[in-house]
Amino acid sequence: MLGAPESWAFKAEAIEVEDYESAVELFYERNWTDGLAVVPPTPHKVQAMIDYVGRDPSEELGTVPPRHGVVTVEKLAISAVMAGCKCEYFPILLAAFDAMIDSRHNLNGVQTTTHCCVPLLIVSGPIVQQLQINAGWGCFGSGYRANGSLGRAIRLILWNAGGSYPWTVDRSTMAHPGKWTFCIGENTDESPWPSLGTDHGFPEGSNTVTMFSCEAPHSIMTYGTPAEMLLPICRSMATLGTNNSFTCGQSLLVLNPWVARQLDHSGMSKDAVKAYVYEHARVSKKAAQSMGVMHHDAHRKYWPKHIVDSQLDDEPLPIVDGPEHIHIVVAGGERYFSACCPGWGKPGGYAVTREIVLPK
């Protein structure tokens, strides 16, 4: 850090630039951003981010495949500043990063697959309201600093530590806009059911973040009686051509609060909805076998054995490994639409949840 003040304790290289505009251009030149301009991570801003959580900046949090760059608290703070995060968002990022590198999530595969899946942050608990994370109208869209910057910070650490660029090892054939930012809040206040964090073992009322790698949301028209809503939900989730349709795995269903209340009033708990979807969101064995990918013996690798062995052409193939592999989140505006986000399938991207630890 030639010329940098000796009082600085940062391990990261410090670069002197002429002005703000020069800093923004530098980050493009050094390939430190994936295409969007960043907030230059000045020492002052990075220090404030680190001070908020009171952690040792040199603490190693883990590595990001496929490059296996080493991420410290300091490096994650730099990404957070670049993304435009407030300091109060940093505890969420620390939990999200830890969830994302969990082996069950298979980040190495997510970062390099030809599939389009992208890690989605789902924030649950009182922190959603406190930090104004959008869990309502337009939850998957724009307009909220928290959603935009949290998702962005995750993308930047995946970029700068993971080294997965679309012109090298990131082989995502089509990708999707979640590669820019992908973060929603869960609307636990309007939900009749336990939160996603509670589904995954945390006490009700906990602040949690779940990382799940998935496609962009598919819109589902959900209107009418519960039966009339469940029909398009099941058909949408069982779309032929998703990885779920021939490898099972996990899937995400995002129901708007009105839909969730209708189902609840009809006597359906969240588990009952999962069970119903598991039984009815099915692809016929014949349809799945008609896909060209079957030449690669996908069924032998991914299907339940009883279906591989079945002689019935119309044996219904489930889209997930079991009802517990359907993740249900209540979010969005109270109108006619819900959404599903098919997962990467059996290869990975599985949901991992961590508690958000707030500084004392």
């Binding site: 940098a4 290289e13 670069i15 000045t42 590595t63 990001v64 296996h68 670049m82 700068n160 690669h296």
Partner: protein
């Protein structure tokens, strides 16, 4: 104005890795296959060709549980300890 680098270098790099020595021949050697589950029938074909044309001492075949995750370290070590050369994965 000062800014901090977001670059996160890995602990080891390709430049710091040492390549193993090359085999002169596969005859009378122990040859390993680490199937990344993308090889489909190609590795089976390759195994047949190697056996018939090179007469290795032994073929050790290991298939990973999943394509996109690494093989367990103990299995990698087993292959490294037992084999003179290992054919690793196939790109698709």
């Amino acid at each position: 104005m000062w800014v901090l680098s977001p670059d996160c270098p890995p602990r080891t790099t390709v430049e710091s890795a040492t390549l193993s020595s090359r085999l002169e021949t596969m005859a009378d050697k122990v040859i390993g296959f680490l199937d990344n589950r993308r090889a489909f029938r190609y590795f089976a074909h390759m195994k047949e060709r190697i056996e018939s044309e090179y007469r290795p001492k032994e073929i050790v075949y290991l298939a990973k549980a999943a394509t996109t995750g690494p093989a367990p370290l103990e299995k990698i070590k087993e292959l490294a300890d037992r084999c003179d050369a290992v054919i690793v994965g196939v790109a698709m």
